[in-house]
């Protein structure tokens, strides 16, 4: 049965290939400014993002302002993925809440050179991550990217020096930090709800700014939440996956 299935695996493959290669002819010409993807809502985003949201990076404007609901969902998905990793590997039961003594420094590969180089690099990587988040409105960047960079720095510490000298964050704490990120996100939305605006409508925030600048501050707060969640969950997934087996 198994071998039969593997032998006929090329059938759906060929069918999918035929459909995809045939359908490519009907797709809009590449780089056509009048293609359907570029005509409906996208011109609205491009032409009014700077004025309405104060963000000259339209990707951030769409991500954190126009489609903030969507991004809230994505952030929760990431947190859920981290939780799922933790639950699947059984690390959330009380007896198994942290690395045991034997596993405390399982995977380090630090030589003196790697150690010295990483010591030099890591502060700058973390600083760059913060820059990417804070400057995400005027240059490429944002919460997701900054979070990934910051998590890369923390994971680098763990790879080079083992878990013990790095930030000693147990998975239970990383999950809590990730949840704080989602809380910052939803909290920003709820504050505007209390000031008689819609959920995640940043123009209701009680800050001493007006118009686009106010909405920029709102999306910055949301991006900070995303940054916290992404950093925490990436580190969490790394920790849980490298925890080593007990069985």
């Amino acid at each position: 049965m198994q071998q039969l299935l593997q032998r006929i695996a090329w059938l759906p493959f060929v069918a999918a290939a035929a459909i995809l290669f045939y359908a490519a002819r009907d797709l809009p010409t590449m780089a056509d400014p009048n293609a359907p993807a570029s005509t409906h809502v996208s011109p609205r985003y491009i032409e009014s993002a700077l004025e309405e949201t104060g963000a000259s990076n339209m990707v951030t404007a769409v991500l954190a302002d126009y489609r903030a609901y969507d991004t809230l969902g994505e952030t929760v998905v990431i947190l859920t993925a981290g939780l799922a990793c933790l639950l699947v590997l059984g690390a959330f039961t009380p007896a198994r809440s942290g690395p045991t003594e034997k596993e405390a420094m399982p995977y380090e590969f630090g030589s003196d050179i790697v150690d010295a180089t990483s010591r030099l690099l890591i502060p700058f990587i973390i600083l760059f991550a913060l820059y990417v988040v804070v400057h995400g409105h005027t240059s490429p960047g944002g919460g997701f990217q900054g979070g990934a960079i910051c998590a890369a720095a923390i994971i680098l510490v763990r790879l080079v020096r083992g878990r013990a000298p790095g930030l000693k964050l147990l998975p239970t704490y990383t999950v809590a930090i990730g949840s704080i990120g989602v809380l910052v996100y939803t909290g920003t939305g709820l504050v505007s709800l209390f000031f008689e605006k819609n959920f995640l409508d940043y123009s209701g925030l009680p800050l001493p700014f007006h118009g686009g600048h106010l909405r920029e501050m709102g999306s910055l707060s949301v991006e900070t939440g995303v940054f916290i969640t992404v950093t925490a969950v990436m580190v969490l997934i790394f920790d849980v996956l490298t925890m080593g087996s007990e069985e």
Binding site: Q2, Q6, A9, W10, F13, A16, A17, L20, F21, A24, R25, L27, P28, T29, M30, A31, D32, P33, A35, A37, S38, V41, S42, I46, E47, A49, L50, S56, N57, M58, V59, V62, L63, D70, T71, E74, V77, I78, A81, G82, A84, C85, V88, L89, T138, S139, P140, G142, F144, Q145, G147, A148, V230, V233, M234, I237, V240, L241, S245, E247
Partner: protein, 122 residues
């Protein structure tokens, strides 16, 4: 005509990536390879969306300094970029969950090969 041929070739490249991933998922017996194939498939979807967002003679979707009234023609479509930005992070998370499941399977059965797994499940 030239532009159309070029765009079909581009779509074909994305479709080829997709098919490599699909073939890996269907035909390879090892579960880690299936996971890698799934990642290739996701990259194919991302590439496809990025192709859709491109415009000729346009700049990245960041308003240039001094451009008070941005015109849609001058900037590429920011929407696919936004969607793919979140898709990349979500694909990292799903890969993490899949790896956790694979570790779990390996701990339980000592193998990640599909046919051996089916034998052991009998």
């Amino acid at each position: 005509m030239e532009a159309e041929t070029l765009s079909v070739v581009n779509y074909w490249l994305a479709a080829s990536l997709f098919l490599i991933g699909l073939y890996g998922i269907l035909a390879r017996p090892h579960l880690v390879r299936k996971l890698m194939a799934m990642n290739i498939l996701q990259v194919a979807v991302i590439v496809f969306f990025i192709i859709l967002g491109y415009k000729s003679d346009a700049t990245p979707p960041i308003v240039r300094q001094g451009d008070e009234t941005p015109i849609a023609r001058n900037y590429i479509n920011p929407l696919p970029h936004t969607l793919m930005l979140t898709a990349i992070v979500v694909s990292v998370s799903t890969t993490g969950v899949a790896l956790a499941l694979l570790i779990r399977i390996h701990r339980r059965f000592g193998t990640l090969d599909e046919s051996e797994l089916i034998e052991k499940l009998k």
